[in-house]
């Protein structure tokens, strides 16, 4: 009897250790970013020399970085808006109407998740070249919408399935047409999903390197700019400072998106956002 209990406790300890190791493996490398971004040395090596914020000041003063950041914000915002709008329409169609071959549609739109980005990037580049569309931030947006659609649809379909279909019927019954029903009932109820989708697709676009690298032409997005900076060893600490900031911003956005998405999943509860 005693042996059995002790055995169980030992097993628990083993799993606990494994969990700690797993989390450390995931997050310790990431922690080096902020640590070395405050280290007063151009060399990325222990022991730490001293605390400084000069890398942050230097990085903020860099006009190339500012332009790249602004480019990334623009691409991210357009990507988020377009993919969320398309995702909302697709989610509405797939959850509310009998669409022939809806399973196939769903499968094809999630395909970009499984196709390597480098393959997508190259094929888009070939396509754009062959139809003579010049590379720009817009072509990056096109590529990013492609890879963001699966995320937008996953979030929005689950949100749309989460509320009673007869709510929309009730609106029609009370005299509103399809368009006004969308704005007075569907959209307010889907709003938490819409916000979550905007945030999620923005982050996916903001972090994306490969497709942007192929499609950006002469305008650099932030990941491309960072990649370029890595050629200069003395710029590395500044890149680390930038990376640390992006890391924090990404975490905040993802947590916020998850929180919004979980709001009002009970179809009888009103979403507190936008109500």
């Amino acid at each position: 009897m005693m042996a059995k209990v002790r055995n169980k406790a030992g097993q628990g300890r083993g799993l606990f250790g494994y969990a700690i190791f797993y989390l450390a493996f995931l997050y310790v490398p990431v922690l080096f970013l902020p640590i070395f971004s405050f280290n007063d040395s151009a060399f990325i090596a222990f022991p730490l020399v001293g605390f400084t914020t000069k890398w942050y000041t230097e990085m903020f003063a860099d006009t190339g970085m500012q332009i790249a950041l602004w480019n990334s914000l623009k691409v991210g915002m357009f990507t988020a808006l377009i993919s969320t709008t398309l995702g909302l329409l697709a989610a509405k169609a797939l959850t509310r109407y009998q669409v022939p071959g809806s399973a196939a549609v769903l499968g094809f739109t999630s395909l970009p998740l499984f196709v390597p980005d480098i393959v997508l990037g190259i094929s888009l580049l070939i396509l754009l070249n062959s139809v003579h569309i010049p590379l720009s931030l817009w072509t990056v947006v096109v590529g990013h919408v492609l890879i963001c659609m699966p995320f937008a649809m996953a979030v929005l379909i689950s949100r749309m399935e989460g509320f009673d279909k007869s709510l929309e019927e009730a609106s029609l019954d009370l005299g509103e047409d399809g368009w006004m029903t969308f704005w007075r009932v569907t959209f307010p109820l889907a709003l938490p999903g819409v916000i979550a989708s905007l945030l999620l697709t923005f982050i996916v676009s903001f972090d994306e390197f490969l497709i942007a690298y192929f499609l950006a032409g002469t305008d650099a997005t932030l990941p491309i700019y960072i990649w370029g900076q890595l050629r200069f060893p003395y710029k590395l600490p500044g890149v680390l400072a930038l990376g640390a900031l992006i890391l924090v911003a990404s975490c905040v956005l993802v947590i916020f998106a998850e929180w919004v998405r979980s709001l009002g999943t009970d179809p009888n509860k009103a979403p507190t956002v936008g109500a």
Partner: protein, 360 residues
């Protein structure tokens, strides 16, 4: 086109090869409380949704107040609906839920407020305007759904099993309230239910449906006392059936030869020809049970007895008949009809109790 306020004219609805509603013909009068009654899956909700405009008939037409509404979308129809789930908008409060249909009309604010408050008073929920949908009980949600529909002053109110989600006591209270409300507002109600008692107690007339077909349209009393087929008789209340054959006609009644239970007399219109195989149907409460033999009574043995307070139920086995005969008797005396399991009893019923039904 027609005198009926709602005319359902040879309406069928097919999903693929399956006929959810099969050639339905119903005339509903203005101001009537009309029920569609049937087991789940019989097509009653599909028919209601076709009147509302959520489904379009595959064949046939639906007229409301003389207008052909068959292809008109729900937002253009003079109908409003109370949904089974009530469909209270969770992002709006009670006031805005009720005002939903009025906002579209761009009424002056004062008039709209007056109409919503009037509706709140009608459902006895004054002062609940600021409450959110999820802060209401089931009965309150049901009332809000009712007010939200009636505030638009529809020509027809459609109700899809609106009392199904309520507990028994509340449901019975709402049945009475709903009936009174209908009399007060004078609007035509079309009410879908699978609960036969609910339909009998509330409706002016009832259409009984089964497997997409309308079996009988009649007043509650007629449905119960003079069903037109075995299915209707069986679905509404309990019924005893005996196989029989028409032996002769006599003074507007048929004398039926019912084999093991002997000759049965049954009156009725359109009596079937002599020699036609028929069913004789008798309600359990029409049968008198006695412990002493009497002229023409059927002899049997008590198989089961259940005491239910104001009445008792018995199952009596009769030689030559497979199904025991069901009998319900009022316990008029405090001693009750003290017959117990195994007792020999004698069954009889008045001449007008037996109903002749076609044998399928």
């Amino acid at each position: 086109m027609t005198d009926a306020f709602i005319k359902i004219d040879h309406v069928s609805k097919r999903f693929g090869g399956f006929a959810a509603v099969d050639d339905a013909n119903i005339d509903i009068q203005r101001g009537e409380f009309f029920s569609l009654l049937g087991p789940s899956g019989c097509g009653k909700t599909t028919l209601l949704r076709m009147i509302a405009g959520f489904e379009y008939p595959t064949e046939g037409a639906i007229y409301i107040d003389g207008q052909d509404e068959s292809d008109v979308p729900p937002n253009k129809r003079p109908t409003n609906m109370v949904f089974q789930s009530y469909a209270i908008f969770p992002h709006l409060n009670v006031f805005d839920n009720i005002a939903y249909g009025l906002r579209r009309l761009r009424l002056p604010k004062r008039e709209m407020t007056a109409r919503v408050n009037e509706a709140l008073a009608m459902i006895k929920l004054e002062g609940y305007g600021k409450r959110r949908g999820d802060q209401l009980s089931g009965g309150q949600r049901q009332r809000v759904a009712l007010a939200r529909a009636l505030v638009n002053r529809p020509k027809v109110l459609l109700l899809d099993e609106p009392l199904g989600a309520l507990d028994k006591r509340l449901r019975e209270a709402m049945q009475i309230e709903l009936r009174q409300l209908q009399r007060n507002v004078g609007i035509t109600f079309v009410f879908v239910t699978h609960d036969q008692e609910e339909a009998l107690s509330m409706s002016d007339r009832i259409a009984v449906m089964s497997a997409g077909k309308i079996l009988q349209v009649a007043e509650p009393r007629t449905l119960y006392e003079a069903p037109n087929c075995r299915e209707v008789a069986d679905f509404i209340g309990t019924m005893n059936f005996f196989d029989a054959k028409v032996a002769s006609h006599e003074n507007g009644a048929a004398i039926l030869d019912a084999g093991p239970i002997g000759k049965v007399r049954a009156a009725g219109e359109n009596l079937p020809d002599v020699g036609t195989p028929v069913l004789v149907a008798v309600r359990p409460e029409k049968i008198t049970l006695s412990t002493t033999p009497r002229e023409g009574a059927i002899k049997g043995t008590v198989d089961a007895a259940a005491y239910l307070g104001e009445r008792s139920h018995f199952h009596v086995r009769v030689d030559g008949i497979a199904t025991p005969v069901a009998i319900a008797s009022q316990n008029v005396m405090r001693s009750g009809d003290a017959v117990s399991h195994g007792a020999t009893v004698f069954l009889s019923w008045p001449d007008d109790a037996a109903v002749i039904l076609p044998r399928e």
